[in-house]
């Protein structure tokens, strides 16, 4: 494995965005036939580093060598030519093109100068099969696929380019355990074929399973490189966050108060063929998890509560009284007080070019205004509170929120809803792509909000989170509640088993929850 000249080397790479130092003399050495994990907090500069590598971002200074020869990449296409292929954190699929079009997009097969559709389809099918996603039809439009499928297409697309260095920037953050294990098998095979793989993830268990070599980034610098397995998880996390790291999950309260009417209740909620007779309750002070494989109706369920879906049947009750919520603006009204932290913060949670201030107060403008005029003093007070409460790291309130790192963006999304002091909080996979430190803060916050009397419904693709945070977990399968796990029943084994619906002993479907 140790050859004299490393396959790829980056030295003294710096990149600044305005006043932010995304990278500061960063170094990286990549060798063939190994999986190199890059770790670091949100905003540590991981994505920027690999964007430099992939020709998306031009570094301010530094040099890169490939096979010992100095290279520069003026465009992603140039990096591709050199055999560097990247799966970006923000997906780079073209939504209106088909899966096959996307897979061959950088270099489609040609005949008589035109794209050869037959050949393209064969290449796509082969690549999909290699990525373990043969179930995706090559003619389907990417925009019609759920996020997790798109991620698989992204991987197939990368493989179709026959890379020498394959970079995955949080490529698994939207994937379910089943897909992840498929991907891992593929990655390990590629390593065997002599590729160099760079792997960025915030999921420690994935890194433990996969990586040969690890490099930790902090504040735009590489602070440590070590052989995988040579450091304990706690040591690694401390390297990442630069401070002592203790317990992840806050303690759960002993028992959930059960006297009053549940804050949020659903009775036989159905919607098209995606939700089937879902009944559930969430009490004030409770954190209820939604589990199951990705795409089993969890997102739709949250959207249904929030008034986004049309043609719902069944009943939704707030404090025991039936309500008809027909829009998010109805859902956030005083009597209901609901908040939704949406799935995709960049397109659903935030207006990226607008300032942190404008984003924070956006959902609470009606509360902060008198006669339609914003009370700027009140706005400032509330924003200060929120920034302090969530420890949002920002260079100022008047910079675009898009300039914050992923984790801090997510905090802004949450803070923007907390400004309304919601009574019911729906969370749609809020920790996706967020570093351990921030995650921990979010877990604490969730519990704090519950203790203060909020009812929380929490969907996560991460089983550890469900186990660590939730008082109860409802496992969804094919749009219906398959099982309810309470307290100590919430184990990884139980979650996975019921998610795959492979339980012999079927529990009384969901209805138990309404009691």
């Amino acid at each position: 494995m140790d050859s004299a000249v490393p396959l790829f080397r980056m030295e003294g790479i710096s990149k600044r965005y305005g006043g932010v130092r995304a990278l500061e003399k960063a170094e990286l050495v990549v060798t063939s036939g190994s999986i190199h994990a890059i770790l670091g907090e949100n905003g540590a500069g991981k994505s920027t580093l690999i964007k430099v590598m992939a020709g998306v971002v031009a570094p301010d200074e530094g040099r890169m060598t490939l096979d010992g020869r100095e290279v520069t990449f003026p465009s992603p296409a140039a990096a591709n030519q050199a055999g560097i292929v990247c799966i970006f954190q923000e997906l780079s699929l073209v939504p209106d093109l088909s899966v096959a079009d996307n897979i061959v997009i950088s270099d489609p097969p040609k005949r008589f100068g035109m794209i050869d559709r037959g050949a393209q389809r064969r290449i796509a099918e082969e690549a999909l099969a290699r990525a373990g996603a043969a179930d995706i039809h090559p003619l389907a439009l990417v925009k019609d696929l759920p996020l997790s499928r798109r991620q698989m297409v992204e991987i197939a697309k990368a493989l179709a380019r026959k890379p020498r260095i394959l970079i995955l920037d949080e490529a698994t953050s939207a994937l379910t355990a089943a897909d992840v294990s498929k991907i891992f098998a593929v990655l390990k095979r590629l390593r065997g074929e002599g590729l160099a793989l760079l792997y960025i993830s915030h999921r420690m268990n994935e890194i433990a399973e996969l990586a040969d070599q690890c490099t930790v980034f902090r504040n735009g610098r590489n602070v440590a490189s070590y052989k995988a397995g040579s450091k304990s998880d706690n040591e690694v996390v401390e390297l990442m966050i630069g401070r002592e790291y203790s317990h992840i999950f806050p303690p759960k309260p002993a028992a959930v108060p059960g006297a009053a009417a549940p804050r949020l209740e659903a009775r036989k909620l159905s919607w098209t063929d995606r939700l089937h007779d879902i009944s559930l309750t969430v009490r004030a002070g409770e954190v209820v998890g939604l589990g199951g494989l990705d795409g089993q109706g969890q997102r739709e369920l949250l959207l249904a509560f929030f008034g986004v879906l049309r043609g719902l049947s069944g009943e939704v009750l707030i404090d025991g009284k039936p309500v008809a919520i027909s829009s998010p603006s109805a859902a956030r009204e005083d009597g209901i007080g609901m908040a939704l932290i949406p799935e995709d913060r960049k397109t659903e949670g935030l207006m990226l070019p607008m300032t942190v201030r404008e984003n924070l107060s956006f959902a609470a403008l009606d509360r902060l205004s008198k006669g339609g005029i914003i009370d700027r003093a009140a706005e400032q007070r509330l924003i200060d509170d929120m920034v302090a409460l969530l420890a949002i790291k920002t260079a100022g309130l008047d910079i675009p929120v898009g300039a914050l790192s992923g984790g801090n963006q997510q905090k802004v999304v949450i803070a923007k809803w907390l400004m309304r002091q919601p009574r019911i909080i729906l969370l749609n996979d809020p920790t996706r792509g967020i570093d351990v430190g921030t995650k921990q803060e979010l877990y604490q916050l969730m519990r704090k909000l519950a203790d203060a009397g909020a009812a929380i419904l929490f969907y996560s693709t991460d089983y550890d989170e469900l186990i660590g945070c939730c008082d109860r977990v409802l496992v969804l399968y094919d749009g219906a509640v398959k099982r309810e796990l309470v307290g100590a029943e919430i184990t990884e084994r139980a979650l996975i088993a019921s998610a795959l619906n492979i339980h012999g002993e079927e529990s009384p479907v969901g209805l138990g929850a309404t009691a």
Binding site: P328, S329, A331, A363, L365, D366, L368
Partner: protein, 328 residues
């Protein structure tokens, strides 16, 4: 970019300039340049009468461009301006035929007709999700059809009322044409709405990402609808003022205002994609366009040359400051 030096200079400027967009500053600089070039041709381009005259004429475009800006901030466009202007003017004059009550209600009625057109646009864009570029084109055609039917069938009265004349050409404050005062008032209201009111914030929010605004619990459809209604109303009001200026309404009044109003908003640094822009910029854009048209006209440039210079100047100015940021 050397921020330190820039910051140093900016630090010494008054606050409103420091906060202004470089695009807006450049636009104002272009105005000065234009006047300078004009004055080389004839001294009278710097005379107060001429400048006031331009400001007065600019205020008609200014009022119309205000509505256009609101719509553009949403990331939409309003192509129904020509016949909203004409309908506003014609209906206001027509109302005046109905006795003293008609005369009193003339202006509100004209504006109301514009609002109606705007509401149809708004329903189409916000509720039926039809691209604004196409629905406003269609309502423009419908409004034109209605006006043709109306003119032909009802032998309308089309002289402006005294009030309309007064608004467009009178002087409430000596030396300052009323049209300019009206534009200033509407502009001030717009600035206030855009910077201080919740409505303005939501407009910017929707322009940036309507989906996120909707999920924040904002009734985005209503906001879009209101914006189009306001745009229609302002176009019609522009028509009312124009009718006052010309002391009568005519069918083709609005034709000359569509492209200039879009160009003015964009020259003022507002992003045609929505979500970004300041009213000060629109003011600059309006004055710029008006001056350019007027100077070319007075220089007796043949039409062909005027069109060419007009186009080249717009492209040149946009290249100067209206460019999107580089992608890397």
């Amino acid at each position: 970019m050397s921020e330190t030096t820039l910051g140093g200079i900016a630090g010494r400027m008054p606050k409103f300039i420091r906060r202004a967009d470089p695009a807006v500053l450049t636009a104002f600089a272009c105005i000065v340049l234009l006047l300078f070039l004009g004055s080389l041709y004839s001294r009278s381009f710097l005379s107060p009468e001429y400048l006031l005259q331009q400001l007065k004429v600019a205020s008609f475009l200014g009022v119309i461009a205000t509505g256009m800006m609101l719509v553009i901030l949403l990331g939409q466009i309003d192509l129904s301006v020509p016949w909203s202007v004409a309908a506003g003017a014609m209906m206001a004059c027509a109302a005046a035929a109905y006795g003293p009550v008609g005369v009193v209600l003339a202006i509100p009625f004209g504006i109301f007709c514009g609002v109606l057109i705007g509401i149809v646009n708004g329903i189409g864009v916000a509720y039926l999700r039809i691209p604004s570029m196409i629905i406003t084109l269609a309502t423009n055609a419908v409004a034109q059809g209605l006006m043709v039917v109306y003119t032909g069938g009802f032998s309308p009265q089309d002289s402006a009322t005294g009030a309309m004349r007064y608004l467009a050409t009178g002087f409430a404050i000596p030396g300052v044409p009323n049209a300019v005062i009206i534009w200033a008032l509407i502009g001030a209201a717009m600035v206030f709405v855009l910077t201080r009111a919740g409505f303005g914030r939501t407009v910017y929010g929707i322009g940036n990402r309507e989906r996120a605004a909707y999920l924040s619990g904002v009734d985005t459809r209503r906001v879009v609808m209101i914006a189009f209604a306001v745009s229609g109303g302002l176009s019609a009001f522009g028509g009312v003022l124009l009718a006052g200026y010309a002391s009568k309404a005519a069918q083709s009044m609005g034709d000359a205002y569509l492209l200039p109003s879009i160009a003015a908003v964009v020259l003022g640094g507002t992003s045609i994609l929505g979500g970004r822009g300041s009213y000060l910029g629109t003011v600059a854009g309006v004055i710029l366009i008006t001056l350019l048209q007027s100077i070319l006209s007075v220089m007796q440039m043949p039409e062909a040359g005027r069109q060419i210079i007009y186009g080249v100047v717009i492209v040149a100015m946009l290249l100067l400051y209206g460019r999107a940021p580089a992608s890397r």
